[in-house]
Amino acid sequence: MKTESVLEKILAAGHLAVTSECGPPRGALPEKVKEKAEMLRGYVDAINVTDNQTAVVRMSSLSACILIKQLGLDPILQMVTRDRNRLAMQSDILGAYAHGINNMLCLSGDHPCFGDHPMAANVYDLDSMQLIQVVRKMRDEGRFQGGDEIENPPKMFIGAAANPFADPFELRAIRLAKKVKAGVDFIQTQCIYNIDKFGKWMKEICERGLNEKVSILAGITPLKSAGMANYMRNKVPGMDVPEELVKRMAGVPKKDQADEGIKICLETIEQLKTMEGIRGFHIMAIEWEQKVPEIVERAGLLPRPQV
């Protein structure tokens, strides 16, 4: 074992892992964080805590992670390279580990132009690939990026994202190989709606033997309505929602669309369970967090293993 992470242990034991996410509030509201996290107790192995997602200011991922850790749950500290340079990021990693946080997700983050401070400076001292390298160096070599030795180095279980649906498709497996080379331990993918395309990517991942080196958690987001399906299809860059799905959602009466969305999501999980290389699920129920327990239960992913 590289770390004390429960997620690492679950994956190492060969169980299908389940993670979900908690977006921190837009205010100093600790109760909101605790409320969202409590909802997931017993249903997931670790909880991603987003870092100023969509470039909108929220409570810091680190502080929300600490609140969640204090509840006895396992957070995954998301860290984007957009807002802070390597000094700030490494000091936060030390701080996180000092609070017992031992999972991280290394991301580049959405561009500030999408958020509430489009006038902000765009840092990008590092990119996500280099952040993975930094976290690994801290853990495995006990050294900061700058080379100095760390007393009690932070042992993080290192995650990253992969989007098999972005262009150019032919680069997507090679790009994952780079993340593996950089030292990533687990991957959470973009939400999967186009299973055929995802399958093609996974096949290439397995052909390259990458599934042996990194645990891939399939990204799942239930569609809440036909409107949401349409929006994700047409407006969200790097998202691939096939037309048939939009039609299927639109084909049921409005009041039943949410149920249809859950049904689709459960079918997707079922199909992915048997796909070679899938080691678990990352369920992102956007503005619909209360549905996660039901999805986990109906997908037959309970009880969560004790390790």
Binding site: H111, N122, D127, N163, A166, D167, P168, I174, K181
Partner: protein
Amino acid sequence: MITAERKPLEEIIEYVRPFGKILLVGCNECVTVCSAGGRKEVGLLSSALQMAFMKEGKMLEIKEMTLERQCDPEYVEELSGHINQVDAVLSMACGCGVQEIAQRYREKPVFPAVNTKFMGASERQGVWSERCQGCGNCLLGLTGGICPVARCSKRLLNGPCGGSTKGKCEINPEIDCAWQLIWDRLKALGQEERYSDIIPAKDWRPSRDGGPRKIIREDLAS
């Protein structure tokens, strides 16, 4: 070249309003090529200012000059015979030219008439785009001759991010995804394997982050 765009007339008017006589100085280098501050633009701005002030019933006397290179002390010296006859200088050069004047003529106010934009190239008539950020340690040899520092919106050295769509950047469909361009170029060169190499965290010291930069060529320095 260094590209620039003229500032809005209203902003320029407010700069020169307190003065009766100004020297309007263009530059024959980059800003001429990008049609922002050469001899022609000096003439146009001069007329526009005079007309605007005339409407207000105010006289503004403008002496027009265009220097060969406003970032070079040798040429800026040419203003010395005129500087005492004016109240202020309005420069149409890039920020380098404006500062050269400020340094040489310490007691004369100088104002910028253009916004200096970026180091770029001409895409077609009337269109310029950014190509270089002067990071001080050129990576183009690794990236097929296309710069991710200047041309990727997140300056990712190991892109593309998950927002690359049909060759375009997620922030604006008018912007090419630099990493799509890099990949296409590596393919055209038969250097696809180069993509698999991780470009390590960049040392930003040779860039602006190391503080204001200076080049000293001992063989040339006097």
